[in-house]
Amino acid sequence: MQSALTQRLRIPNFYWLAAIGAIISAAGTLAAFYMEHHGHQVTGMNNQVFWGLPHVFAIFLIVGASGVLNVASIGTVFGKKVYKPRGPLSGLLAITMLAAGLFVIMLDLGRADRLIVAMTHVNWTSVFGWNMVLYPVFFGLVGLYVWLLLDRKMYAYSKAAGTAAFIWRLVMTTGTGSIFGFVVARQAYNSAIIAPMFIIMSFAWGLAMFLIFQAAMYKWEGSQLDEEIRQRLNKLLGTFVAAVAYFVVVYHLTNLYYAKQTAFETFILVSGGIYPQLFWGGFVVVGTILPLLFVFVPALRSMASSSVLASIFTILGGLAFLYVFIIGGQAYPLEMFPGMEVKSSFFDGVVDPYVPSLPEFLLSIGGFGLFFLLSLIVVQILPFMPQDDMAQLRASGALQD
């Protein structure tokens, strides 16, 4: 019943591209060894801001990994024809993104040599502990799903696997969001809205990563993505970006009005130096307004590069948001004695001047390098290039629904 969904791709300059990916990943790995050898004193992290730049990138990749799968889910679970040929690629990118995110977070551990310990000792009351199980199962399910999609004999089973993967990834992102949501101690994080906010962010960030990689593949193939399909995907991205903005507004309003975190919100949104700058300039302008313009303003939308630009801005905005959320949330001092002026030899009551160091930066970027390298190699070897049967799509009216 199924015409070929995908084709194999011959990437020109494959070895050059792979070398670039490999160098970036290797630099990240070496930076991690350097950190491991000297301890975290060679990073900008300290005992107040102990989750730094690597966590920003790792969490972006892990959250985005679940969102990338959205494309496949829309095709398989919700039966939208335009998305079906993109299912395998979406599954593949989900796996490589998650692998890259875990690579960064694992190598940043104080005892990165104890990976086995992390996997064999699980504390079930810990959200982090659950994630040790959520991630490997995600790999398994998505891997199975991609295989079923690609194997024509097994295609019939792909819907079941796709549904399972879809549910699992919602759970997984809830788990990632809950890493923060369950932290009662901190002004920034103790909020029920964080888990759903992360789910919607995963949609936007994942789709943005997908669109960029897909655009690269069309370029490598020397072909063109059908304009109608491109606009549909763009519109979806725009919707997600708008939804993210809505959740972020609600998150800050809840903090302000219900949780009465006025001082903290003032810090993040107005007075906190780099954090409000990144929030307004990075997340709001670059990460929200620009992508929306490129997706919805007709003159910009019709530019061939509009998808890629909107996606890049979305990604930059996501990283800016996470920087403010993770690092700003720690830099702001813990409130132990409400209403009191506090000082101590351990910088209580003081905003932390965290600045990432070079090794941290290399490790963080290494995550993106690894994602690119792994995805590149797989699409070179296996058939992941989406094939759209435009005639059939038009005839069945799939482009309208």
């Binding site: 086995i116 310990v117 064999t120 000792h121």
Partner: protein, 126 residues
């Protein structure tokens, strides 16, 4: 589990690699026993099981708070530290010598003090 696997791997490494290495000319570990005859168990048993003994003790001591166990890392150090360097590490050090030979990574000393005696806890009392 992990420790079991590591232990098995270590044993396998010793069993398989030792003869190879020995025949390849790696000198056998040359151990100086500073206080012969006073170990908590016979030598073959210590060779085979010291890691298991220490592992069980460590969990009981730390997690249950049981003190005064027969096997104790500080006990090992106090008896086996070299009289010249004061340590179980370094060239000819009791722990390092064998572990280097068997190529089994030593994790203890990232946290534990490998020297005997001179680092006694003083608190605020003289």
């Amino acid at each position: 589990m992990a420790i079991m696997k590591q232990t098995l791997a270590a044993l396998a490494a010793v069993l398989l690699l030792a003869p190879v290495l020995a025949s390849a000319g790696t000198p056998k570990p040359d151990l100086k026993i500073e206080n012969p005859g006073s170990c908590i168990a016979p030598v073959p048993e210590m060779r085979r099981n010291h890691m298991e003994m220490l592992k069980h003790t460590r969990d009981r001591t730390l997690r249950q708070g049981i003190r005064g166990e027969k096997a104790s890392l500080n006990g090992c150090i106090n008896c086996h530290a070299s009289k010249t360097t004061g340590s179980v590490l370094g060239q000819g050090g009791f722990c390092q010598e064998c572990h280097t030979y068997a190529a089994v990574k030593l994790d203890c000393w990232d946290c534990h003090q490998p020297k005997a005696g001179n680092h006694e806890a003083v608190g605020v009392k003289p």
